[in-house]
């Protein structure tokens, strides 16, 4: 246990070194946030009253998404894991007395936490004080905020479990980029990254609900703004826990199988 905690700290601390990347990221996220908000504003101006999501809630959704991007986006991969499988350095991970699944899980989640720690503060602090209606609103209620944090935490576990599965695939295909790209593209739509779920056609929304991706970011963001009532939050919290357990179980099985068939590349 001590080893895992130490590793978590090490990855987190070394992730906090990359300040330049964080500054560049923050700038990009402001740019994207405003761009999306202006596009939606134009659309909303044309549709009148009957919108599936209030404009303020949508703006809040977008700013939360931008602030927490490095935590909730499926597309953010840990290159070092794929690289270690490609060049055989993974051999060193296999001669250590730890569980490789937990190790990679920690690596992925600590990396994401480090990145989000560096970025989210600035984005939240600035967007909270932007003039209405372009600002990040406060959570709808204190209860909703607590629920949001809980949902976000479980969402982070879901996305990490998915990432470990993607990385484990590299043991079979040598390079996980191909298969990862397919998953990313699906995830982009199913997670609400390209369009918040309420803006999608009902049939697509129903498909989204089958998969775990929307539970990573879309769901917590909507709890925060009150788009989903806190009482419903509890129900989906159960679903989140189900997915966390299922994905960890699947990932651990895949990795265990991979380790039996593993061929370490290079001399």
């Amino acid at each position: 246990m001590k080893g895992y905690i130490s590793y978590f700290k090490t990855v987190l601390l070394s992730g906090l070194q990359y300040k330049t990347a964080a500054i560049a990221g923050i700038c990009t996220q402001f740019f994207w946030g405003f761009l999306q908000i202006f596009i939606y504003q134009a659309f909303y101006a044309g549709t009148g009253q009957n919108t599936p999501m209030d404009f303020e809630k949508l703006v809040t959704y977008i700013w939360l998404q931008q602030a927490l991007l490095t935590l909730v986006f499926v597309r953010i991969r840990d290159e070092s894991i794929a690289k270690s499988i490609k060049n055989g350095t993974v051999a060193y991970e296999l001669v250590r007395p730890y569980n490789l699944y937990i190790w990679w899980f920690i690596k992925c989640i600590a990396g994401r936490l480090a990145a989000v720690t560096l970025r989210s503060g600035v984005l939240v602090a600035v967007t909270l004080f932007l003039p209405a209606p372009y600002n990040l609103s406060l959570p709808i209620s204190f209860g909703a905020f607590i629920m949001f944090l809980l949902n976000l935490f479980l969402g982070a576990l879901i996305v990490t479990a998915i990432m470990v599965i993607i990385h484990s695939i590299a043991f079979f295909t040598y390079d996980d980029k191909g298969i990862a790209t397919v998953i990313y593209n699906f995830a982009e739509i199913l997670s609400g990254t390209s369009l918040p779920l309420p803006l999608l056609p009902t049939i697509v929304q129903n498909i989204c609900l089958i998969f775990p991706f929307w539970l990573i970011g879309d769901f917590p963001f909507r709890i925060y703004s009150g788009d989903i009532p806190v009482t419903d939050g509890l129900k989906y919290l159960g679903l989140q826990i189900f997915w966390v357990v299922a994905l960890i179980f699947i990932g651990a099985k895949i990795l265990k199988y991979a380790m039996k068939k593993v061929y370490i590349q290079g001399g």
Binding site: Y7, A91, P97
Partner: protein, 325 residues
Amino acid sequence: MYINVQNLTKHFKIKVRDKGLVNAIKAFVKPKYRTIKAVDNISFGIEKGEILGFIGPNGAGKSTTIKMLCGIMQPDSGTCVVGNINPFKNRKEYVANIGVVFGQKSQLWWDIPVIESFELLKAIYKIPEEKYEKTKQQLITKLNLQDLLDVPVRQLSLGQRMRCELAAALLHDPDILFLDEPTIGLDAVSKVQLREFIKELNKEKKTTIILTTHDMTDIEELASRVVVIGKGKLLYDGSLNKIKSKFQSTKKLEIIFKNLKAAPKIESKIIEKDNKKVLIEVDTKKESISSIIEKYSRVCQIEDVNIHENNIDNIILEMYKEYEL
């Protein structure tokens, strides 16, 4: 036997394709595979506290064997037992007691200072504080690491890094140390330092050491016993001296003399001669060096004698030739 390897076998399926666009498309639709016997029915044993040298040309199956001994790869067939433990089946238990250095890979975390890697390893191996401090201090002194500890690994030179790698592999005081080409790419001074350290470690702590290398001086300096592997098969298992005497039957003998009356009659071939010295290629199976010297001593006054042995690299080359590798 401490480590017991019986009929160890590992096959790999590799994708092959002929050159050209048509073949590339064919290979895409229906890939062709070829099975390679990386390790083919190898058996040997290692005693506790022994230093065993693994040699063989590139691609012979050395590293694959090492990886199976480390518990990283599962053998297709055959068994490997280390002190009653099956390395692959009880991986976690087993690897807590071994140290590994792969010369071509790094086990230290690239972005963080060396000392932090050490601290992390301390937590991973659950090394008690007191023991950790003691081992760490010993390693720092012996490997001369004082000035390297606060430097991020990416900024170390190869020689510096290799010293740190060795320390990292030994912090938990393992019973077995695997060294896979530890001196690759190192300069002469670093190589000598590393060898000295390994020798001392084996002597003081009785650590069992399994070493693969292409540097024959490593083997000469460290290993009393060698295992030669070629094309996945075990070709030789025994002392280094035995190989030497088998493949080193010819030696060059140089005799420097004064007042040579008449050249004595010898069976060996004279390569060079003038009125001061003679160079003879001696096949020691046919004629002994001492008998030649004796014959010369009767007809002249010998001032100096030099014997040139075939060096170990050439011996290995001859050996590979004999086994058609």
